[in-house]
Amino acid sequence: MDFKTPEDILNEGRKRFNNLAGFAPLAIMGIVLLVGALGSIYSIGPDEVGVIQRFGKFARLSQPGLHIKMPFGIEKLTPVKVERIWKEEFGLRTLQPGIKTRYSQREYLEESLMLTGALNILDVQWIVQFRVKDPVKLLFETREPLENVRDMAEVVMRRLVGDYRVDEVLTTKREEIDDLAHQQMQEILDAYGTGVKIVTVRLLDVNPPDPVKPAFNEVNEAKQEKERVINQAWEAYNKVIPMAKGEAEQTIRRAEGYNLDKINRAQGEAERFLLTYQEYKKAPAITKERMYLETMMDVIPKAKDKYVIDPNQSSILPLLNIGRKGGLE
């Protein structure tokens, strides 16, 4: 019979195990090598910098490319994006950036309402853009660099708005505030050692709070109305005055014309008289006679009723009726 005794089976098992056991170290070594290889090769992207720590202590920075480090947790890699620009929003949130950016309709009044220098209230929205300038500081100096950026953005903006007037924040001093906010934020963040560089601080929409907006609009309308009323008055002026000036000119010209006319006529008549007089003076008596008779010749036929009276007679009798048809009746 070919039965295997329990001891035989155990022996066989032991033999097989011993054979396998020879392989065990090799297998473990293989795994170790593999893990080691995987843990020691790494690559840094073009917009990154690699921070290498050995047993927790900072060892070196790695520039973009393929590198080797110590595996098995001896050296740890933390890549940091140093080219990328981050944006933080205050008082608003962008839902979907793009060509037609969509903003959240929700108001972020806790963030956006603030007091001005004259103790009025404004609704201020702004953004901060920043990037990493010192990856070592970023990782090791502060626990929450991003929260530092956000907190200080609010601290600085509120501090600045608290020094300006409503109209300055709305329009005239926006750029000044942007610049100062940039400066002051950078100062604080550097003092904290965040390793962050502020790229931009920019005020976006600044508005009076909703309940007050209509009153502000009213002022703009009133300003426009003032302009309009004044323009209308000047228009009326410009319609009347130049025309009046023109008419005045005309009146004077007319008078001058009258002047000329009158004088010319006078001169003409004077001239005529003088000429007549010259002739008359040459033979006064006969000229006078002639002129008289000529006039009578012209005039007497015109009159219908003519009476010739002899002054030596005492009564008036129609002795002569020249020119009247029908004769005595």
Binding site: I28, I252, A266, I300
Partner: protein, 314 residues
Amino acid sequence: MRILSGIIIGVVAVVMLAFISGLVYRVDETQQVVITQFGRPVGNAVTQPGLHFKTPLIQVANYFDKRLLQWDGDPNQIPTKDKKYIWVDVTARWKISDPLKFLQSVNNEISAQARLDDIINSATRDVITGHILIEAIRSTNRIFEGEESDDVDVIASEEAIERIGVGRKALEGVVLTRAKKITPQYGIDIVDVRIKRINYIENVRKKVYERMIAERKRAAERYRSEGQGKRAEIDGQREKELKVIQSEAYKTAQGIQGRADAEAINIYAEAYNKDPDFYTFLKTLETYKETIDENTTMMLSTDSDYYKYLKKLE
């Protein structure tokens, strides 16, 4: 072959054992460690990053953050010296400067935060109640310098007309100084305290809105009346200038005409005065020509020169 693999296994085993048992511990750049033995701290704090040794199993490494940490309390409702109720939201930055003391006093960050709540909130409250509102809002007096703009944000509230003596930044400094005095006993160093937000409480805000609205309405009214006033001015000027132009023209025209009349008279007189009788004669003859027409009844005497030859020839 067997020996090599044996060595490798041995090394790996030893290393793992070292870490598990606690012989070796690692301190990161962001960490600091206090070693305690049976609850009692041993030696100074370990702040150097890297690998360190301690007694395994018996000694424990307590880790603390070495970095700048933040404290951000809840907003508090605080009245200012001039009785304005405002929400004050303060934020602070602190460090565990003495991890040993820290471990012994507050032991962990949660209770540290609670302790900081008390310290910073009370310091803030003291400072805010000790100053008028405007001191917590403005940092400088720049609002009083510079040109008055046309659309002046009229400083309507009386307290806003005052100049500040201290200012926002200085107030933050006072809170920081006060808090800084207390915290070292906890191994905490407060690096910075800042006012993050100040806002009116709800019903004060409503009043401020009302004030702003009233002020804006006043400004609007002012613009409107300025417009009306200027228009009246321009209209008045227009009327006046019109009268002046017209009367001047009239005067000048009259003058011209008067002079013309005078000169004409002169011309006539000069001429006719040469022989006034002759002029009278001529003029009379002209008058006969003009006035005698078919409606005229003429009475002629035989004495007249026209008829004189009727009587007799002479």
